[in-house]
């Protein structure tokens, strides 16, 4: 797969991953651009026997995101508290609550959850992207979901009550 085909196929998913990690569209755009430029400039670095183009691109995006947040010291878990006056019944409030809850996860759990739940990667692909074994990423996913289950409990009950 040449870089243009890879871009057409995966740039949306890479951008979405970067956005959900960074929570800022401008940072996500920079990370996505850098990710594909790295592939365009040195396509020979991709070795087919090590994995798919998809996992390779997500690995680059993940490393760029980690570097970005190391430089800007912004990957620390955020407070998952609701802002004062938030109305959990409104859909926009639910969306914001989910965003805050995910942002409140520890970095390794956060990236695992975002990649698995939103980017559609398999457990094996996730393990290859983050450079861990499948058992480790399963454990991270489980802990992330447990945290989210508690943090988002009020929204689930309200959502059910209102259909």
């Amino acid at each position: 797969m040449n870089p243009e085909e890879a871009f057409d196929k995966y740039h949306g998913a890479v951008f979405e991953f970067a956005y959900r990690i960074a929570r800022r569209a401008d940072v996500a755009e920079d990370l996505t651009q850098e990710c594909f430029l790295a592939y365009v400039r040195a396509p020979e670095r991709y070795v087919e026997s090590r994995g798919t183009v998809k996992t390779y691109l997500f690995s680059i995006a993940r490393n760029l995101a980690l570097k970005h947040f190391r430089d800007h010291r912004a990957l620390e878990p955020l407070e998952a508290e609701d802002p004062p006056g938030a109305d959990p019944r409104r859909a926009i409030e639910v969306s914001a609550a989910v965003e805050r809850a995910v942002a409140g996860l520890p970095p390794l759990q956060r990236e695992a959850l975002v990649l698995f739940e939103y980017s559609g990667v398999t457990l094996e692909e996730l393990a290859a992207i983050v450079g861990a074994d499948v058992g480790t990423v399963k454990s991270r996913l489980h802990r992330a979901r447990e945290r989210l289950r508690r943090a988002l409990a009020p929204y689930g009950k309200v959502g059910n009550a209102h259909g």
């Binding site: 740039h11 951008f15 365009v40 995910v102 508690r150 959502g159």
Partner: protein
């Protein structure tokens, strides 16, 4: 909050789906694949040529002159017709016989 208040897997999945992300901007492609990376036809249709200002001025002047000349009225063509003179019983001199005449004879 007791354990019964926690979300089921299905409820959690439903909530997670409510967080949407924006679409990637269109300009991303141009940022990753600038003009130089386009194909031959792409460069042909969107390419540009830099011309030095004096050369551009000279070309514009020549074009202007050519346009002016093409718009000017065509030069008048004068057709001169020659008519052959016809003199009846005219015969050209076949042999010249010069004759020297004396002055006193000339006076006569």
């Amino acid at each position: 909050m007791d354990e019964n208040d926690e979300l089921s897997d299905r409820e959690l999945d439903r909530l997670l789906r409510q967080w949407s992300a924006p679409a990637p901007p269109e300009r991303l492609r141009a940022a990753v694949f600038p003009e130089g990376r386009r194909g031959w036809w792409g460069r042909f249709w969107s390419g540009s040529v830099r011309v030095p200002l004096p050369a551009a001025c000279a070309a514009a002047l020549l074009l202007g002159l050519a346009a002016w000349r093409s718009m000017a009225p065509p030069a008048r063509v004068v057709v001169v017709r020659t008519v052959a003179a016809e003199v009846p019983r005219f015969q050209p001199v076949l042999e010249l016989r010069p004759r020297i005449v004396k002055a006193e004879d000339a006076a006569n």
